[in-house]
Symmetry: C2
């Protein structure tokens, strides 16, 4: 385990939720912290203590009138109290001897009110002088699946290799939900809001030595210590893929960032230059951040060149896809004659194309396997293919299948297709991308395919445009890292 000074923050043996509402499912939303942490099972391994003077039990857990009434060690406090109550909580936290406190509580410097900004500085100084680290205020705090902390319901319980550092809690939640549905898993997720004590550069520095973290993604609104941030990104990006998304790069975005986290935003040019100098990825949009994370955590990370083979999806789709790939600077080299001949052996000519893009018959797993294996032997750096799932309407006894049986068949077919893509990628050594377009497969089936494919190291994208951007982003990143160590 890393001996980084921030390590204890991610391993609290006791956590108190101060100000949690007596009905955690009631209006307002702050009860979600308790139910989300219980959903992860934290309370079954460590002490979880709701604090609310108006209740004796919440969600089956004993409830305490104040932090000081808890008759057990507390390492971490989640503050859900209004700002005016914070001074009292600060004194109690010091008395209790906690190690870290996360303020969901908002209403400080981000309001633009000088008095509240002063109050934020005062409370943070009081806490840090006492050796207590502060996350926030105005943020969602920690999601650490390894210990069972979480700030929203429905987060995956298994830990993974992606760290996410986000100034915005909602954006952090969206990333976990969306990337989680695509199969990615997280080591630590930190929403740090105003960053009054701990901020981006602290967590970036921690990520360097955290053994669970292999890839780091960060959403930043304002850089508070420019030099420290730059140095931390530089050290981190040298050893782990680091994907940065900066909000507030336009005038309107900067105004919104200032009102959101009190951040002063920089310019696109400055941020872009920083990414170039440090060897970090620059995500231009939230979708880029998602898609690059998928790219660097799957076999796609090994893509070395611009020559794409595109398989399946229909003629019109192939035409528009070719345009999309070309616009991102990728090529679709023609198929060599022997490859065409091999495909023609089992493909009818009519209505299909044996050239690149390959509009081959992929209607059964066997045909798909044969076609993809032949294509992967060609002179291509990456194979992009639309999987087609076997969708039987009748069972082995020739009886029509009912809805539930069809659902099971569809899920099995999705798993088989994912297994096939993973196996072909492993056997041929060529990175595969699976396109899982919105074409009528149920979301359950689409998600199952994406997750199973990801588990086998295959990158899945919802559109050719996003797949093309991910490939182009990887290649560009690799090019400008010349001189830096080869880390993926």
């Amino acid at each position: 385990m890393s001996s980084h000074p921030l390590e204890p923050i991610f391993h609290p043996r006791g956590t108190a939720l101060v100000g949690v509402p007596s009905d955690p499912n009631g209006p307002g939303g702050s009860g979600g912290f308790l139910t989300s942490i219980m959903e992860q099972g934290y309370h079954e391994r460590f002490g979880l203590y709701p604090v609310n003077p108006k209740a004796t039990e919440i969600a089956g857990l004993k409830c305490y009138p104040t932090l000081l009434d808890i008759d057990a060690p507390v390492d971490h406090v989640i503050s859900l109290v209004p700002a005016r109550v914070v001074p009292t909580l600060v004194e109690q936290a010091i008395q209790k001897g906690i190690r870290s406190i996360h303020f969901f509580t908002a209403g400080f410097s981000e309001t633009g009110d000088a008095e509240m900004a002063q109050m934020e500085r005062t409370m943070v100084k009081r806490l840090t002088d006492a050796g207590i680290r502060v996350i926030g205020p105005n943020c969602m705090g920690l999601y650490v699946p390894g210990v069972g902390l979480a700030f929203m319901g429905g987060f995956p319980k298994e830990p993974g290799n992606v760290m996410l550092i986000s100034q915005s809690g909602a954006n952090a939640g969206d990333v976990v939900h969306n990337l989680g549905r695509r199969g990615a898993r997280f080591s630590k997720v930190i929403s740090f809001g105003n960053g009054s004590d701990l901020r981006a550069h602290h967590f970036l520095d921690y990520a360097i030595s955290d053994e669970q973290t292999e890839v780091v993604t960060a959403y930043i609104e304002g850089v508070q210590d420019g030099r420290k941030f730059f140095e931390a990104v530089k050290r981190l990006a040298a050893v782990k893929p680091t994907i940065l998304l900066k909000g507030g790069l336009t005038g309107a975005g900067a105004r919104a960032a200032h009102s959101h986290t009190g951040s002063l935003a920089g310019s696109t040019q400055v941020f872009d230059a920083m990414c170039r100098q440090t060897g970090a990825f620059r995500a231009e949009t939230m979708e880029d951040l998602h898609d690059l994370t998928i790219a660097v955590t799957t076999g796609l990370k090994r893509v070395k060149g611009r020559d794409v083979a595109l398989v399946g999806g229909g003629g019109g789709f192939a035409v528009l896809s070719s345009d999309s790939l070309a616009r991102e600077g990728l090529d679709l080299p023609p198929a060599p004659q022997e490859l065409k001949d091999a495909l023609h052996e089992f493909m009818p000519i009519a209505g299909t194309s044996a050239n690149n893009p390959f509009d081959t018959n992929m209607s059964t797993p066997e045909l798909s396997e044969r076609a993809l294996r032949i294509v992967a032997r060609g002179p291509f750096d990456v194979v992009i293919a639309t999987p087609s799932f076997d969708r039987p309407q009748r069972g082995p006894d020739d009886e029509p299948l009912d809805t539930e049986a069809k659902r099971k068949h569809a899920l099995e077919a999705a798993e088989k297709a994912a297994e096939q893509f993973g196996r072909l990628q492993a056997e041929t050594g060529v990175p595969f991308i699976a396109l899982m377009r919105d074409r009528g497969a149920s979301p359950e089936v689409a998600d199952r395919f994406a997750q199973e494919a990801y588990r086998r190291g295959v990158a899945v994208y919802p559109t050719i445009h996003r797949a093309a951007r991910a490939v182009a982003g990887l290649l560009e990143w690799r090019e400008r890292r010349a001189g830096l160590p080869d880390i993926i």
Copy 2:
């Protein structure tokens, strides 16, 4: 009803499917025509005749050995036979006195084979000389919900006001499915493939006088009669919003288009200039085509300027959204003081923003209604808001709700939110855009909201980026139509 010469093609009283497989659910896919048309109920209103010498009944319909054996008038033939059988079918079609024939059959000019190209020309001349119009070959043909023709399953049964003309059948299917899920409905959809007889300009010309058609979208790979195409677009775009997407504008796309429909593609510059000169929309991607169609068929079409109000979604989302809007040339003007004061009356300061973007509390329909009504009174050309659905966990008797009860509540909440957006748009006169982001609402709930909102004239987009592009696209279109009639 229009007296356009093509009108009869869209009203066949009898339709024969020649070469339909005896098991319409079997492999190969061409059986889908029969089941799709039956799903639309065509056979309950008109004559539907499967032709296959190896069957006497298919899907409950009497099956005929040849076209000539059908003892009733046949207006339209769908050819599912292999190319080599086509000459025989052509002679039978002439003898039977049909009016139109659609060749799903592929393997002609698009293969690049000179002999097959010659065969295509010969058969088309033979048919058109006999007064029979030809759709295709190598295409999916017609979807006309008003009479019950369709080429894929799951197409909406209700007709609508959007015509789609597509050289690609798969793309046509994707448009119908995707726009259909978003609430749009179609007057006529035509997939015309190689366009050996009827092609884009014929259908564009038909659209001018078709009373059911209010908006025309077209996916084009190759323009076969440049001058006629240009003139048809010009006449049509002067009177109805016309959205054009051209595939094959890059080198790679052009090669794919040639292999798909034998088309010779043009350049981006030429196509862009044509759209500018005629006053048509130019969609750059398939998503643009979808999103512009939504824009011109909802209240959004009245948007007159670039000043956007953005409501809800959380702070980090507001920051990235502001960046997205600014990148598309849209503005987020600050809120006037009296508007801020009105919002502050019922909004806590902490964690929310009363400036634009407005991060107001939208957690109940009442709060949402109040906030949106205040914002719509401000100096904005369009209000973009993320609806939040009431999601009760407990029933009126305070018992926890089961899954089915939660589902029903969620669907009702989605309908109420759609009704609210529609009502506010109607009452305030300001166009509303609802963002339906992928944030954990079930697809069923998301689709219900989108469809109900559309039915009430509210445009729904899945991302702020796509909403911004649609608004910017509308404004740009309006600007360069100066001098042309105001048609929306």
